[in-house]
């Protein structure tokens, strides 16, 4: 029976993506019910498997266990296959006949260098949908530029808009923001192409430049430039007409709460939440324009109130009066946010070598849906037999020959077990 929460069930995706942006997109396809087959070479596996060596990655088979890899590849299957070899390519050709989508986020030239051009892919499956996610796109003078999320963010214009405002320094996001943004868009591109295939019977090639997707999130800044030749000022955590509008220190170590007041009604609510202090009745705080003009002093007074309480106590008082506010949740705290818990946002993920931890579930939830996480990220080559034997009908002897030739493998080549290696510092 059709499950509306998994609208892409029945779709099979050959996932050649690596690291972040592509895997995030393929994860969304997998969450939506597509059968996503993650294809990695025994000699060129997804680097994210081994970016965090033991002891950060637990277990003997540490290339299968770290949280970073699982964050992007839960609900997927793993096929190890060397696409640079003729034998590997022959297997891939047979697999493509069963695939609807190929998705990759290699450097611009890699697919062609591997002999996996769109033309070749189409020869194997005429209505194939191919999504290429090179950072800067497949054409144009900068097509050979390379970059991970923060470079994409810088080159998209995003970083130029962020900063404290008092030092002129632009600030990047705390995450590699360019990656998930490109990934979400790639998932949308796949669904859009499937809709069009249903209408026309034809596949297509999609050239999705990560930098361009991120740049569409800056509409008002593009408009201000186009209209007034003006570039954005760094606003810090302030606002150009709201006050109070800031993060305020709370009792505790590096604890903060964000509070915003948009209307006179919310100002009255804030006053009630703070216990109706005398100072709030002063004439210079009596309307929105005056509050904004006196925002520095007002921020100090609000901060004096927040500093005396924990961020959860301050939030409880503000919540009761419906003032827009939120604690600045740390990572360990957001996992326990009562609201997210009530909605079941984080779901358990289980792996035999790790045990149980939680990861985010549905990014959006369909009414009546089951849990999002069906299984952890796959062990390297975990589904080789299922896909080669079951789906493609390749006899066991032939599979064994492929393994002997190093075309498939159950372990990345040259990677020692955890117990065989010295501890090394982790990248993060």
């Amino acid at each position: 029976m059709f499950d509306p929460g998994r609208p892409l069930s029945g779709i099979r995706v050959a996932d050649l993506t690596m690291i972040w942006a592509g895997p995030y997109g393929a994860k969304i396809l997998a969450d939506q019910g597509a059968e996503v087959i993650k294809i990695e070479s025994p000699r060129a596996w997804d680097n994210i498997r081994t970016l965090l060596p033991p002891p950060v990655a637990p277990g003997e088979h540490w290339w299968n266990t770290n949280f970073y890899f699982h964050e992007y590849s839960r609900n997927k299957k793993s096929l190890s296959l060397d696409l640079a070899s003729d034998e590997g390519k022959a297997v891939f050709s047979r697999l493509l006949a069963h695939c609807d989508v190929v998705i990759e986020n290699y450097r611009t030239d890699v697919m062609d260098n591997l002999g996996l051009s769109y033309e070749w892919l189409r020869e194997q499956r005429e209505d194939i949908i191919v999504v290429g996610m090179a950072g800067f796109g497949k054409t144009g003078p900068e097509q050979d530029a390379v970059g991970y999320g923060p470079i994409i963010e810088m080159m998209s214009g995003m970083t130029s808009t962020s900063g404290y405002g008092d030092d002129g320094v632009p600030y990047k996001s705390g995450i590699s923001y360019g990656d998930p943004i490109a990934g979400i868009c790639a998932a949308a591109a796949v669904a859009t192409a499937l809709i069009q295939r249903k209408r026309t019977g034809k596949g297509q090639y999609i050239d999705l430049a990560q930098r361009e997707v991120m740049s569409t999130l800056l509409g008002e800044f593009y408009m201000d430039w186009s209209m007034n030749r003006r570039l954005p000022e760094h606003m810090g955590t302030g606002h150009d007409w709201m006050s109070p509008h800031n993060v305020y220190p709370c009792a505790g170590d590096d604890d903060w709460i964000a509070i915003c007041v948009r209307t006179d009604g919310e100002w009255e609510a804030l006053k009630r939440a703070m216990g109706a202090p005398q100072w709030a009745e002063r004439a210079e705080f009596s309307d929105q324009i005056l509050r904004w003009e006196h925002r520095i002093e007002l921020d100090e007074l609000v901060a004096a109130w927040t500093s005396e309480r924990s961020k959860t106590d301050a939030f409880a008082a503000l919540h009761a009066e419906r003032v827009p506010a939120s604690p600045v949740w740390k990572m360990l705290e957001v996992l326990r946010d009562p609201h997210l818990q009530a909605r079941g946002f984080y779901e358990p993920i289980r792996h035999p070598e790790v045990g149980i931890w939680v990861a985010h579930g549905w990014l959006w939830r369909t009414h009546g849906g089951d849990p999002c996480i069906v299984g952890p990220a796959p062990d390297f080559g975990q589904h080789n037999a299922e896909i080669l034997g079951g789906l493609l009908g390749i006899p066991q002897a032939e599979q064994a020959a492929l393994e002997t030739a190093g075309v498939i493998a159950s372990r990345p080549e040259g990677i020692p077990l955890a117990s065989e290696m010295p501890a090394t510092p982790s990248l993060i």
Binding site: F2, P4, R6, P7, L8, Y24, L51, P58, F67, Y68, H70, E71, F136, P141, D144, V146, I151, M154, G157, M158, S160, T161, S162, G163, P170, Y171, G174, I181, C185, A191, I195, Q204, L208, E212, L217, L218, G219, E220, F221, Y222, M223, D224, V323, P324, S326, V328, W329, M331, V334, H339, L340, V354, W357, V358, W364, T366, H367, S426, L427, I428
Partner: protein, 407 residues
């Protein structure tokens, strides 16, 4: 097929994936309009239902020459291109009835009212999808439809804080920082676009629609990258890392602005060659483990090296050596970028009131379809066309509806 017929076919407009699909937009602000902006560009007929005073984003700048007007808000124009505007007052029974009629011909409904508002007006999914089983409807709200914060008002700043993103952003010795602009709303809009396209594909294939509850907080918390799963798997809290996670991952000042590098261990050899400093070949930097132990020293080298570079020079050096170098570009740089222009990223559109403006004009390039770009509608511009022309109300009805404050 004759040659002449073939010639005619070639002149046909390209088939777009959402041609002939009707989207009913009951969403205001950024998230919902951003999602349907792209559905419109992909061919959908987006009927934007506005309150009689208009989408509040009409009252947000920028405006040409800083002259505020309901018809020329840059934010509104960007987010609402190619849509048709109909005004409806849903507090009137006539307004609600017209909405129900519009929903009968819609494949997709996007709404952003407070949780429970539509249901309390008998306009929830069960009512709007009655007789229209394949209807896909999405609700986009700050915290979703359920849970203790569902009805808590929110702003970009509070959502940035609630999602955990804010904790990660900014200098470790200063307060947490917010990204520029309205990132919580925009990223939620992009997620909504993905949710709608996926759900609509399911509806096309199976004839069964769905109702989707999208929370801005959740979509944003879902991109906390390694940091929340590290917390959950290993119990380790993350710290703000400012502009530099480590010496080879961050932003540096250059001669004419700011540049950056993001190198993973495997990029190091190419990086060292591109920079060309002999000391980078030392084992204390070239060995991945030792490099992290000698991070401060490497960072000092990087500060002084970057100071002698230019933005464009860095990009070119990165292209030559395949090293992830880049620079902090502004929207001015991007609007003038030869690269982006060569890829037709921008669309320049005339608007009677706002003049000729250059917009980001698409998300990706497809081998089989283009992106339609048209101007945003004036408030209620299509009342006559839709309510009279398509729903069959008489002209006198429109007069009555206006007088009853229904449109």
């Amino acid at each position: 097929m004759s040659e002449q017929q073939q010639g005619q076919d070639e002149q046909q407009p390209m088939d777009r994936p959402f041609d002939g699909i009707r989207v009913l937009e009951l969403a205001e602000g950024i998230s919902g309009p951003y999602a349907s902006r792209w559905l419109a560009a992909l061919g959908a007929d987006v009927v934007k239902v506005e309150r009689t005073t208009g989408d509040p984003s009409r009252a947000f700048g920028p405006w040409p020459n800083d002259l505020p007007s309901d018809e020329t808000s840059g934010l509104f124009l960007y987010l609402n291109g190619d849509k048709r505007s109909v005004t409806l007052n849903l507090e009137t029974s006539d307004g609600r009835e017209i909405l129900r009629e519009l929903a009968q011909s819609a494949e997709i409904v996007i709404e952003s009212f407070d949780p429970g508002y539509l249901a309390s007006h008998h306009l929830g999914y069960s009512e709007l999808s009655a007789g229209n089983d394949a209807l896909v409807m999405i609700s986009i709200t700050p915290f979703g439809q359920t849970g203790p914060n569902a009805n808590l008002p929110a702003t970009e700043l509070t959502l940035y804080a609630a999602s955990g993103q804010m904790w990660l952003t900014g200098h470790p010795e200063r307060h947490p920082l917010k990204n520029g602009g309205s990132q919580p709303s925009y990223q939620a809009g992009l997620n909504a676009f993905a949710a709608i396209t996926g759900a609509y594909y399911g509806a096309v294939m199976h004839g069964q629609g769905s109702y989707i509850d999208l929370s801005v907080q959740e979509t944003y918390a879902g991109m906390a990258e390694a940091f929340h799963t590290r917390a959950s798997q290993l119990g380790i809290e993350a710290q703000r890392s400012g502009n530099n996670l480590n010496a080879l991952w961050g932003v540096y000042e250059v001669a004419d602005g700011y540049g950056g590098i993001c190198a993973l261990p495997r990029n190091y050899p190419a990086f060292a060659q591109a920079v060309g400093l002999e000391e980078l070949q030392d084992e204390r930097f070239s060995d991945p483990g030792q490099r992290l132990l000698n991070n401060d020293e490497l960072m000092a080298i990087m500060y002084s090296w970057f100071a002698g570079q230019t933005r464009q020079g860095l990009l070119e050096l990165g292209i030559e050596h395949r090293v992830p170098f880049g620079f902090v570009a502004t929207v001015e740089d991007l609007t003038n970028s030869e690269h982006l222009q060569s890829r037709d990223f921008f669309a320049t559109l005339d608007h009677a009131d706002a003049g000729s403006l250059t917009y980001p004009g698409r998300l990706w390039l497809s081998s089989v379809h283009d992106w339609k770009m048209g101007r945003a509608p004036r408030l209620g511009e299509h009342n006559m066309e839709v309510i009279h022309g398509e729903l069959g109300y008489e002209r006198e009805d429109l007069v009555r509806l206006r007088e009853l404050d229904a449109i």
